[in-house]
């Protein structure tokens, strides 16, 4: 039998819609619904609490507010038009998109690989599972500062170690061609564990019976992986992608304390630009506009990823 059929026989994914034809009386249906609504309400209330500042921010971006302008006037989309005709904004936009794409391209495969390595039961795995969580426990801003000092070209330990094996010193964060890549390196160190842990949990939730059943059929490890494990963990991978997309679009803590957007503007991501506009240059409205553009980007990409997520769920069973 095919791997597909094996899955269907031994354990299905719960379908996204409730089972039709399942008999429940109208009264029970209503009270069930009420319970569900009650369960949902607290979460919704919290959500509303965030909406107000958020909407305030959008409103501000439609005015000419600077910190020293006490009654700002409505200017409509002027700030946005200004931004999209500003070269430095467009560069920051492109840079941020590039950053997100590279982060995903590097961290997703690495996380899957790491999860596979850890799922194999062995002493190494046991240790690895405990070690994995360590980088996560360092606040990003501290991690950034630590890496900054390690990556110092003339005085840092990384170049020193590279020198011991004959590799010439790299400029890392101090040259415009390598600075963004170095930030991505730090990001990977800080967040690979996060991605790996989620995918690992997904891998471990794969029922053993399914794997065993297909192996009995003579499927080699690569085939098992491709046709069974991969589709099974696909929703987890997409979930990781959704989180990583949101977080890397918004990346700030790893950039500002480390490079302040420099050298020149090679690491000025959109969130950094938004921070500068609001907190350093007093241009509150412009900063909010930058941040709102950022939000729209994240929202759009994540909506698309959500569709992908649903497809991966329905793909199995």
């Amino acid at each position: 039998m095919s791997p597909q059929q094996a899955v269907e026989r031994t354990g299905q994914r719960a379908p996204a819609e409730p089972r039709k034809g399942f008999r429940r009386g109208p009264a029970t249906r209503a009270s069930t619904k009420r319970t569900y609504v009650l369960m949902l309400m607290p979460a919704l209330l919290l959500v509303i609490g965030i909406m107000i500042p958020f909407l305030n921010g959008i409103w501000t971006s439609l005015t000419n507010k600077k910190s020293y302008i006490n009654d700002p006037s409505f200017v409509g989309l002027e700030n946005y038009i200004e931004l999209f005709t500003d070269e430095s904004f467009l560069r920051a936009l492109g840079r941020t998109i590039l950053y997100v794409v590279v982060v995903l391209a590097v961290q997703l495969p690495l996380a899957i690989l790491a999860a596979i390595l850890l799922a194999r039961s062995s002493v190494g795995s046991w240790m690895a599972r405990r070690v994995l969580v360590l980088p996560l426990l360092i606040p990003p801003i501290v991690a950034g500062l630590m890496w900054k000092t390690m990556l110092q070209p003339s005085a840092g330990v990384i170049n020193y170690l590279l020198g011991l094996v004959g590799i010439p010193p790299q400029p890392w964060l101090t040259d415009i061609s390598t600075s963004l890549g170095s930030v991505i390196l730090i990001d990977t160190w800080a967040f690979l564990p996060f991605s790996t842990l989620i995918i690992l949990a997904g891998l471990q939730s794969l029922p053993n019976e399914i794997k065993e059943a297909s192996q009995v059929d003579g499927a080699g490890p690569w085939n098992v992986f491709r046709h069974i494990s991969l589709p099974w963990i696909a929703p987890y991978v997409v979930l990781v992608a959704i989180f990583r997309v949101a977080d890397s679009f918004k990346q700030f803590d790893l950039v500002w304390p480390v490079t302040r957007g420099g050298p020149i503007d090679s690491t000025r991501l959109l969130h950094v630009m938004g921070y500068e506009e609001v907190f350093r240059f007093s241009s509150t409205a412009r900063g909010m506009a930058v941040i709102f553009v950022l939000w729209i980007l994240v929202y759009t990409v994540s909506s698309y990823l959500l569709k992908v997520w649903r497809r991966t769920i329905n793909a199995v069973g």
Binding site: P42, V133, V157, E209
Partner: protein, 284 residues
């Protein structure tokens, strides 16, 4: 598969394993070393791997000043306590609110299920900078500033999306037959959730809880702006190592190590649930 391919792949796996482990571990090791170095060893070049360790930094963090030249004794431990209260509280609240919400979203169509769920997630998209200044104003006028409750509520922005979505992904893997069996027996949705489904998705809830705790613990901006002298979290405390003219690396490293301990304990505790694989044989 012949023996050479097997050996080859084993070597490949081992190399990958060692590479990833080194990558993840080296900075940690370097940081711990930094925490044990005196200031002149920290800034020395070439970098020192052999040095005479000192416990001065740890002593200073645990018992002495708060790291800056201006704080009082034992302050850092106070920050640690604050972070514990806020992060544990935030995760607890998110679990109580979020797990049932995730369940409700999966099992019943309330309007468009995915849109609602996505709205929860979308608050993770909001850059904190966008909301933090108005939020400060709101907190001040509502008296939530510098309060544990206020911080716990503001951290929901971080923890709820994580919990709802991770738990939801795990819920998708739960066979419906299990719940149907319970419902035939007369269990309402809440009981079904607690009695039947939760034990099955325990690894998922544990992962979600650990990650939510860690992200909440590491958060800087909320704690900086919305807390005052009483509730300052540990992230703000660590940054006090940044003096006006120099960064006190040794102290910062020691503070980071100390602040990582609660997270490690939480993770270790939760690992018990994580490591247990999901046994789908329930009720079969």
């Amino acid at each position: 598969m012949n023996i050479w391919t097997k050996a080859g792949s084993k070597v490949g796996f081992t190399t990958a394993y060692v590479a990833i482990m080194t990558f993840l571990l080296f900075p940690i090791v370097w940081m711990v070393m930094m925490a044990l170095k005196g200031y002149d060893d920290v800034i020395a070049y070439p970098p020192k791997f052999a040095f005479s360790p000192t416990t001065e930094n740890f002593r200073s963090v645990l018992f002495g000043d708060g790291g800056s030249m201006s704080s009082g004794a034992g302050e850092f431990m106070g920050y640690l306590g604050n972070s514990l209260i806020v992060s544990l509280g935030a995760v607890a609240l998110s679990l109580v609110v979020g797990v049932p919400a995730a369940y409700a979203l999966i099992r019943n169509r309330i309007g468009k299920e995915d849109t609602v769920a996505f709205t929860f997630l979308s608050f993770r998209f909001a850059p904190e900078l966008m909301v933090i200044i108005p939020l400060y104003g709101i907190f001040q006028s509502m008296g939530l500033y510098d309060s544990y409750l206020g911080l716990i509520l503001s951290h929901q922005l971080i923890t709820i999306p994580l919990i709802i979505w991770i738990v939801r992904t795990f819920l998708q893997d739960v066979p419906v037959e299990i719940e149907e069996a319970a419902q035939i027996d007369g269990c309402g949705p809440l009981r079904t959730l607690v009695r039947i489904v939760l034990p099955v998705i325990r690894p998922g809830v544990a992962s979600a809880a650990i990650l939510a705790f860690i992200f909440s613990w590491n958060n800087l901006l909320m704690g900086l702006v919305l807390s005052g002298g009483t509730t300052q979290p540990v992230t703000v405390g660590i940054l006090q190592a940044i003096g006006f003219d120099q960064v006190r690396w040794g102290w910062m490293a020691a503070a980071a190590v100390v602040s990582a301990l609660p997270g490690m304990l939480v993770a270790l505790y939760m690992q018990k649930h994580l490591v247990k694989g999901l046994t789908m044989g329930v009720g079969k």
